[in-house]
Symmetry: D2
Subunit: 115 residues, 4 copies
């Protein structure tokens, strides 16, 4: 696994984690929070997963592949949920969904699932 | 998955994470750190993995099983390394290895691998 | 600072972090989430603060006092918010408020503010 | 506090956290680890502090200033230690020290200490 690819995946994880935390906060300031409850839940999980996966990659060990795999799954679930709210004008959900899709792709590339 | 079992796994993850952070610090205060370099590396990874896995379980979502699986792998690697240093009187490695083995067992039980 | 007191504060931080994550999840499953939006926000901040503070103490370094001070402030804000919802039957808020108060006390004791 | 400044501080915290984790790993692969033991300890603390502080800022709450203050202190301690090893050709310590100094400056600006 070349180092450039790892750094690119860390970038994607950290960008995704930040969007997830921002999206959760933005959701909590929307008028209809009930509609966004599952989005907030997945944002929280996804942010945690992305920060931890980024950090494990950054430590340079040999055990991050399974975390990348697990992280990709959460990112996809979060993207799917966020995408439902784009048509209701939730720009934070749009930005979050895009970051999640990118992160899922990069994480899958780390485990060879996309190869 | 019953809630009691989840709480027990969270307990094991947090206990393991604490032992890993303590073990790394103790290793850095030993005389022959070079011998313990890989132990410190795995302690760092394992602590991060355990804290994140505990937190994902604690959030009550549906996506922790893959993280438990990934966490168990790191715990086993860390236990294996720590066990090498027990005969050299490293009590922190002994305590850490035991916490890692317990955490690996609990995490595997979460994904049904040990069932 | 004796080691027993540090361990007790780590215990309180981790217990508080777990209650905060649980409370946030429980809030997101209540009927009137809007009323609980600020509670969820503070739960998220408080969980993050408590996990980090616990970990810094567990690493045995010399720089945790300022984190304990910062953590106590968030714990108190979270407790204050949670307490508002106890009369509406929010048991998770009650449990969370208690854990936050205890954690704030232990953290303040670490910095001598309560001494 | 304008949002641009917050984002810039989050950037600095995450960049610093990554350098700290990388520096710790690189230190563990050097020949004379004993000389670097304190550097590794501070790298670990600083990475944890920076990730948590970045995340608290990213959540958009009101309680990050004390964390920025606490984080700046650890960053400065880590920078000071790393700088000792630059003359021994430790490029990872040089990169880490620079990221720590920048992060400390940005964090202090958040609390008005540098104002």
């Amino acid at each position: 696994m070349n180092q450039e690819r790892v750094q690119s995946c860390i970038d994607a994880c950290l960008a995704c984690a930040r969007e997830c935390d921002s999206c959760a906060t933005a959701c909590l300031n929307e008028e209809d929070i009930t509609m966004l409850a599952r989005c907030i839940e997945l944002d929280r999980e996804c942010a945690e997963a992305c920060y931890a996966t980024a950090r494990l990659m950054g430590m340079g060990g040999e055990h991050y592949a399974l975390f990348c795999h697990a992280c990709a799954e959460i990112c996809e679930a979060c993207a799917e949920e966020c995408e439902k709210h784009v048509e209701h004008g939730m720009d934070h959900c749009k930005a979050c969904a895009e970051a999640c899709r990118k992160c899922a792709d990069e994480c899958r590339a780390m485990v060879g699932v996309n190869a």
